[in-house]
Amino acid sequence: MTSPKHGPVIVTAVLFIVLFGVGGGLYEGFFSAQVLANLLVDNAFLLVLAVGMTFVILSGGIDLSVGAVMALSTVIAARLLQAGVGPAVTIVAVLAVASVLGLLVGGMIQHFGVQPFIATLAAMFLARGLCYVIAPQSISIDDPFFTTVASLQIPVWADVTVSPGAVIAVLVVLAAFLVLRATRFGRTVYALGGAESSSLLMGLAVNRTKIAVYVISGFCSGLAGILFSFYTLSGYSLTAIGAELDAIAAVVIGGTLLTGGYGFVLGSALGVLVLGTIQTIITFQGTLSSWWTRIFIGALLLVFIVLQKLLTTRRT
């Protein structure tokens, strides 16, 4: 409980159960499997963003561009589909653009020693600007494949259903869990965040790994954009403003140290669920306005950061 490794994740899990219990106690109809499933459906894109952000933060970096790249992905997807490009090509193209952006950012950080904060800031400006260039207005998507996927409901338990996006998001989380836990690459990400100079001296593939985490984050932002365009059936340049903050908050609440080296991707997923539950409670309450969400997220962020600080100070 007191180790910086597991402590915050356990606290987050307890917090999630308590929040969900509070919601169930306060509001009729809250305590149902469908509400739980809807947490996944409504936050599928955030789950995927948080997975990419977890890789970056574990390696000791930060990615401010995820929201903008996600918006750019929805815009590119909508624009390509509007131009009559097939859905398969569209999805591949979006993922490729997002990954290449990540590659460029990673190269800037690794080769030129630019701070991650500034490099991803530039990527954010670039992506938002490109959004407006490609489509100043919202474009709706009427491609048959996309509309079919959007209306698809996959039964999981009795009459509880989830969207394909939620399934993809869960698969992404599991894949990231395996990569971080069981591969050489995953261990290098942790080592890099723990101490970059030691990793270099140990002969780990620091350069490649450092670039790869930004490519993963870019890819995840692109995938989140695709999931979001399934969800909303449109591409719009103003979507996901501030999504990078939500992703960072989810990762921190999930117990990952912002200095890198410690954390779990499942914790980040729990963090997303906590944020989603707060949102759901506020929706059920009805009289609380949505800006309380931001204040709650800020307060939670504070609590978890201070908690991590206390745990890590005691360790050293």
Partner: protein, 361 residues
């Protein structure tokens, strides 16, 4: 020493000049400043006035960055200050009176002071990373501003309040005067006293400066308080200019512009060395860039791409890899006497400047 300073400023000044030349070539009368009704008018005046909020924040941000910190919450603090001031003015019995406006501004500045203390305490007392500590207020701050305005856009119709954003004093726009006052105050405080030196020393090595007897904790809290106050001032200018407080959009992305101005000005994000003059030039570069985009006739929304290009270019130029490459190139040029064999470098003075810098170090 002065040559060193000039060589650090040469890039941003060059960019600024290039932008101005582009403007003049498109609009021949770009540089003319006229006096109408005793007020100064002209594109240059507009650049100074519209760039004032960013400049006000960027000056304080320079000091924060000099202590190896960063303040992401300035946009949110500006929004909170604007929201509070407008709410107080609109609820007051006499919204037009200068006394009401002064009181509202005073209360907002006190709140900003508290927010700055909060940020500073998280950084200096709890020892949180600055980016994390200020992220909290950045995330929650707009929610707080929404709470103050109750989710509405508060429109204020107070002539006394309007002066801050769009008024003139002795012919000069008031926001420009505020920005100049902030710059002069910061310059006098840090360059005429030992404060600047102490801030730099904290930025270079907080622990060593503490052992040398510098109260680094108080200094760090101080720069965050200064930054929050500057953010509040900028928020007031922006709100007054729009005659409305919009919790969601007042000062949106201004923290990024301010950091960009500081970085363009040559201050290292690693802390320890800073240039207020560079920041002033950096803020002017950003605003001139925005104006140039308008002048050339590109949709203004595309500005973000140009900002991205400028950040990338400046960062790559300042990066150790580039510096090392330039130095190596310079050495190889010196090493091979038959210079006629090598193609003449396209930007010889700049390369020489950077070579001199390396030599001086």
């Amino acid at each position: 020493m002065s040559r060193l300073l000039r060589s650090r400023l040469i890039w941003p000044v060059a960019v600024l000049l290039v932008l101005l030349v582009i403007n003049v070539s498109v609009v021949p009368g770009f540089l003319t400043v006229t006096v109408r009704d005793g007020h100064l008018f002209g594109s240059l005046v507009d650049i100074a006035r519209n760039g004032a909020p960013t400049l006000i924040i960027a000056v304080a941000m320079t000091l924060v960055i000099a202590t190896r910190g960063i303040d992401l919450s300035v946009g949110a603090v500006g929004a909170i200050a604007g929201a509070l001031t407008c709410s107080i003015i609109i609820d007051a019995p006499d919204p037009g009176s200068p006394a009401t406006v002064a009181a509202a501004i005073g209360i907002s500045l006190v709140l900003a002071l508290a927010l700055g203390l909060w940020n500073g305490a998280l950084v200096a007392a709890l020892g949180l990373q600055p980016i994390v500590a200020t992220l909290i207020l950045m995330t929650a701050g707009r929610g707080v501003a929404m709470l103050i305005t109750e989710g509405q856009i508060v429109t204020v119709n107070s002539p006394a309040f309007k002066v801050i954003g769009s008024g003139f004093l002795l012919g000069v726009p008031v926001p420009v005067l505020i920005a100049v006052a902030v710059v002069v105050l910061a310059a006098v405080l840090t360059r005429r006293t030992a404060l600047g030196l102490l801030i730099e020393s904290v930025g270079i090595n907080p622990e060593a400066s503490r052992q040398a007897g510098i109260r680094s904790r108080g200094l760090v809290i101080g720069v965050y308080v200064a930054c929050a106050l500057a953010a509040a001032l900028a928020g007031l200018v922006l709100t007054s200019n729009q005659t409305a407080a919009d919790a969601n959009n007042t000062g949106l992305f201004i923290e990024l512009d301010a950091i960009l101005a500081v970085v363009i000005g040559g201050t290292s994000l690693a802390g320890g060395r800073y240039s207020l003059a560079g920041t002033v030039v950096g803020a002017l570069v950003i605003q001139t860039l925005v104006t140039t985009v308008y002048t050339v006739g590109i949709p203004p929304i595309v500005t973000m791409i140009f900002k991205a290009a400028v950040i990338t270019a400046v960062c790559l130029l300042q990066s150790p890899a580039t510096t090392a490459t330039l130095a190596r190139w310079r050495r190889s040029l010196r090493g091979s006497p038959p210079a006629g064999a090598a193609p003449p470098p396209p930007s010889t003075p700049l390369v020489q400047g950077s070579g001199a810098k390396v030599a001086l170090r």
